[in-house]
């Protein structure tokens, strides 16, 4: 039984109630990934495959000195030339991708996930937990990441798990800061208050109400952090504390061949290109992820 409504309400129902079908243009936009995102996804998948299968398809061993001259240019035998010792660059990149993708990606992922989780937790918890967590992480921020890594390596010796942990720990406070400030702002939003008034627990509020609205900036931050970790790891390798020779991550490949830069040797350009494509790929995927609220112009739905 529907009671009579006043004429103004009736008239209102038309523009209000009638829902136009979603036009094809918008539907296409709502697809999971846009064109550039698809490109990014392809690049990232490519690098993941290389990381997994690289050693299997590498023509030479990682430390094998196979070329007669250093910094040889591209040839059929050495598609990407040779490095400063005469090793095959292609093989070294195929081996090195494993460290960069595995180590740097894992460390960045760890740092961002832990930072986001802690920041969220601090924002929805009471003042005391927030204060304690914030001050502790502030203390961690004070330690320069390179020095911190040096101390860690000096104390425990260089190993892959240690490098991963060190890199993650160095970049965690930054992720925490950003996540906390986003979450504190979102925590004031009325939909969060409604959820609180409904009696929802902290975990629901943090994960269901707040997290989806801050995931996009956190992902963008993750892309940035990934690049920093690559730089940190290659810096450590340069000091001889990172990935131990003859193995090398992409960052150290650039470093160790830097003297070939003047000659335009592919040995320095190729690993750099590899890092660039990987980073751009990751960022393309992140930028095109759905969930960002697109601004819809006022008249669009009327």
């Amino acid at each position: 039984m529907i009671p009579p409504v006043s004429p103004s309400a009736d008239r209102q129902l038309d523009p209000q109630g009638a829902v136009q079908p979603v036009d094809p243009v918008r539907r296409r936009r709502r697809r999971w990934l846009s064109g550039s995102g698809l490109v990014g996804l392809c690049v990232v998948t490519f690098w993941l495959l290389i990381a997994l299968l690289g050693p299997l398809i590498a023509p030479h061993g990682v430390g094998a000195i196979v070329a007669d001259d250093a910094f040889a240019s591209m040839s059929a035998q050495f598609p990407l030339g040779s490095d400063y010792l005469g090793r095959d660059v292609l093989s070294r990149i195929l081996y090195g991708a494993r460290y960069t993708v595995g180590l740097a990606l894992a460390a960045a992922l760890l740092a961002s996930t832990a930072g986001t989780a802690l920041g969220l937790f601090a924002a929805v918890s009471g003042r005391w937990i927030d204060e304690v967590a914030s001050r502790l992480l502030d203390a961690l921020t004070c330690i320069p990441s390179k020095i911190f890594a040096l101390v860690m390596v000096a104390a425990f010796g260089s190993s892959v798990p240690l490098l991963l942990l060190t890199a993650a720990l160095s970049y965690l406070p930054g992720a925490y800061r950003i996540s906390r400030s986003l979450a504190v702002n979102l925590n004031q939003m009325e939909y969060v208050q409604v959820a609180r008034a409904r009696g929802e627990g902290r975990i629901h509020i943090a994960c269901v109400e707040i997290l989806p609205n801050m995931i996009h900036p956190m992902l963008a931050d993750f892309g940035l952090r990934f690049v920093f970790v690559v730089l940190l790891l290659s810096g450590l390798s340069f000091l001889g504390l990172g990935v131990q020779p003859p193995a090398a991550d992409l960052g150290s490949l650039v470093r160790e061949n830097i003297s070939g830069l003047a000659d335009g040797a592919p040995a320095v350009i190729m690993p750099a290109l590899a890092i660039a494509t990987l980073t751009i790929g990751v960022n393309l995927v992140i930028d095109s992820l759905p969930g960002r609220t697109r601004r819809i112009t006022d008249g669009a739905l009327r």
Binding site: P3, V5, S6, P7, S8, A9, R11, Q12, L13, P15, Q16, G17, A18, V19, V25, R26, R29, M189, E190, Y191, Q193, V194, A195, R196, A197, R198, G199, E200, V208, E209, P212, N213, G291, T293, R294, R295, I296, T297, D298, G299, A300, L301, R302
Partner: protein
């Protein structure tokens, strides 16, 4: 050819997300003779601000003026380059925006900003500009015109700021002034002062102006002619008199109908005739506020002071007050979002714990809160189905199919199509969002819904539909509402009982009809008299604000009347010495005042309105 402004076939297009262009203003033509005020009226999205900006040759980011001609005097705006346009803006055409607070720089003194336009255009020297600014301040009735320019943004009130912004626009003697919703963000009591000041300068200077507003009653005071807009098109153009008394267009009629408050016979059963049952909600001696608490447990900034109220089952209690009066805090305390400092809140006979965590899920379910702004009250990351589904699952344990069915029922209840469920809120219109906002509260099957300014952000037509929906829901589900609003006509339209808050004190409470008849608290009286009426000449009939009777210094210690500083009928030696107590009138009202019932009955017309019919629209 004595039209100052001529707009012909104006078309403004906006680029959409997908890259193509859609027209947001279509084939708009009008002209303004010199010295006239033209009003552009319409709902949000009707293109009124876009047209106003086009009069300065400006289009917002992503928009452009695609076709048509705009002439101001002999100048064709569309033929001017950007350099010439910026010479024109601020010197020959001036713009007064809605939010003055956002338009001033808080780091510079106001005077520097008021005369900035004149200096940039090199029209006069600094000293001459300042002298002229003081003149304008005086004619805008700003207090202390000689020195107000030396103050900063935070040192003046919202109404004063809006007038300062007008001064900024007038400093260069523009030929055309555009006022874009200049009083929309103000309280009614402030609005009337600003309107009066605007009207005065318009008359004194013989200004040509464009007044953009959604409020017909305000426009009726200001404009000579009205252009009614809807979805970027002109629906009707006519003199103010004709539009108000004999609107020709169907849309204008709808707009007029929505602006006139309709009393919604809210409950099927007559509340007043019912046997006295225990109230659903009873609040007594409520003290609440923010900040640190002192040794008595009272917060430093006290927002609610000794509030008492009751809501019967199925009844609607209206809470009126201007911004800062503590209305929203009251809703937050009842919902448990803010723990009160003292006082009791009884819900259905049992005391409610001050904090959310100590309340049972059942208690939480029975009280739901609906916020003003559906944009921020609905999670943009969730679909409608998820927003509505969560309370169903949380309170009623509904899952999968049962939940889907209930969501469809709820959408039907708030008159939305079921296929909206998979959409996100960003894809819905303002009215649709507010319906979802209501539906979420209904999903809990509550007894009491706290409505915090639910219609304030909506256009009149949409707001009227939401009020109808609320009245219908209440009839069918026997809901109770606590309806918070600053708009007295909305409250009168939907509430059974009303309380009036001023600075955190309950200054008056009574049945809704009692609100429109004497005796009234002096503040209520001022509030009611300040609501613009939809007829021409109302503003002229409203006399100058009565000068306040002088009082001595306030006595220390007791909590004096909160309205003392603005009260036109205050008594020296009484009001500033003793705290007032409630006067109970024969009609069952409580008024917090020193004056007796008999005295208050004769204290009418705080604004000196001649022939102001106090209860005309509520005579039924």
């Amino acid at each position: 050819m004595n039209d100052l402004v001529r707009v012909e076939g104006l078309r403004v297009v906006a680029r959409t997300d997908s890259g193509d262009e859609s027209a947001i203003v279509r084939e708009v033509s009008f002209s303004i003779p010199k010295g006239e005020v033209l009003a552009l009226i319409g709902e949000s999205g009707s293109g009124k601000t876009t047209i106003a900006l086009a009069l300065m040759g400006y289009a917002r980011n992503g928009c452009r003026i695609a076709a048509g001609s705009i002439h101001i005097g002999d100048t064709d705006l569309r033929s001017l380059g950007s350099r010439q346009l910026s010479d024109l803006r601020g010197s020959r055409v001036a713009y007064i925006a809605q939010s003055a607070a956002a338009s001033f720089n808080p780091a510079k003194p106001l005077m520097d900003q008021v005369i900035e336009g004149a200096l940039i255009h090199g029209l006069m020297t600094r000293a001459a500009a300042e002298e002229k600014a003081v003149d304008i301040f005086r004619s805008l009735a700003l207090p202390d015109p000689e020195h107000i320019g030396g103050r900063y943004l935070h040192q003046v009130s919202g109404g004063q700021l809006q007038r300062l912004m007008a001064a900024m626009a007038l400093i260069t003697d523009p030929v055309l002034v555009i006022l874009d919703e200049p009083t929309t963000a103000l309280d009614v009591t402030t609005q009337i002062e600003v309107l009066r000041a605007f009207k005065k300068v318009v008359r004194e200077r013989g200004m040509t102006a464009v007044y953009v507003s959604h409020d017909l009653a305000v426009v009726a005071q200001m404009a000579d002619r009205i252009v009614v807009l809807n979805r970027g098109e002109v629906r009707e153009t006519g003199s103010t008199m004709q539009i108000l008394t004999a609107p020709a267009d169907l849309y204008t009629q709808t707009l007029m109908a929505a602006a006139t408050p309709v009393e919604r016979q809210a409950s099927g059963t007559n509340i007043e005739g019912r046997a006295p049952a225990p109230p659903l909600l009873a609040i007594d001696g409520l003290l609440a506020g923010y900040g640190r608490r002192n040794e008595h447990g009272v917060p430093v900034s006290l927002v609610l002071n000794d509030i008492g109220l009751t809501i019967q089952r199925g009844a609607t209690l209206g809470v009126i007050g201007e911004s800062g009066s503590g209305k929203s805090t009251l809703a937050r305390v009842i919902a448990g979002l803010l723990a009160p400092a003292s006082g009791t809140v009884l819900f259905d006979g049992t005391p409610l714990a001050p904090r959310l965590e100590q309340r049972t899920r059942e208690q939480l379910r029975r009280i739901q809160i609906v916020f003003q702004n559906a944009d921020t009250a609905l999670n943009p990351a969730h679909t409608v189905a998820r927003i509505l589904g969560r309370p169903l699952e949380f309170y009623h344990g509904l899952r999968a199919v049962a939940r889907g069915k209930r969501i469809a029922q709820l959408l039907d209840r708030v008159r939305l199509p079921a296929n909206i469920a998979e959409r996100r809120c960003a894809e819905l219109s303002g009215g649709q969002k507010q319906r979802i906002n209501l539906a979420r509260a209904l999903a809990a099957e509550p007894d009491l819904i706290l409505c915090d300014e639910v219609t304030s952000a909506l256009d009149t037509v949409v707001a009227a539909a939401i009020l109808d929906l609320m009245a219908e829901l209440r009839r069918e589900l026997n809901l109770s509402y606590l309806f918070i609003s600053h708009d007295i006509s909305t409250v009168r339209a939907i509430c059974d009982e009303v309380i009036v808050l001023y600075a955190g004190c309950k200054v008056e409470s009574g049945k809704r009809h009692a609100l429109s008849a004497a005796p009234l608290h002096p503040y209520t009286d001022l509030l009611i008299a300040s609501v613009p009426e939809m007829r021409q000449g109302w503003l002229e009939q409203v006399g100058p604000s009565a000068s306040l009777p002088p009082v001595g210094a306030n006595a220390h210690g007791p909590r004096l009347c909160s309205f003392l500083q603005r009260c036109p009928v205050r008594i020296d030696g009484v009001c500033n010495v003793m705290p007032p107590s409630y006067v109970v009138t024969p009609t069952g009202k409580e008024i917090l005042c020193h004056h007796s019932d008999e005295r208050l009955r004769h204290l009418r017309d705080p604004l000196g309105v001649v022939g102001h019919p106090p209860a005309a629209e509520n005579a039924k």
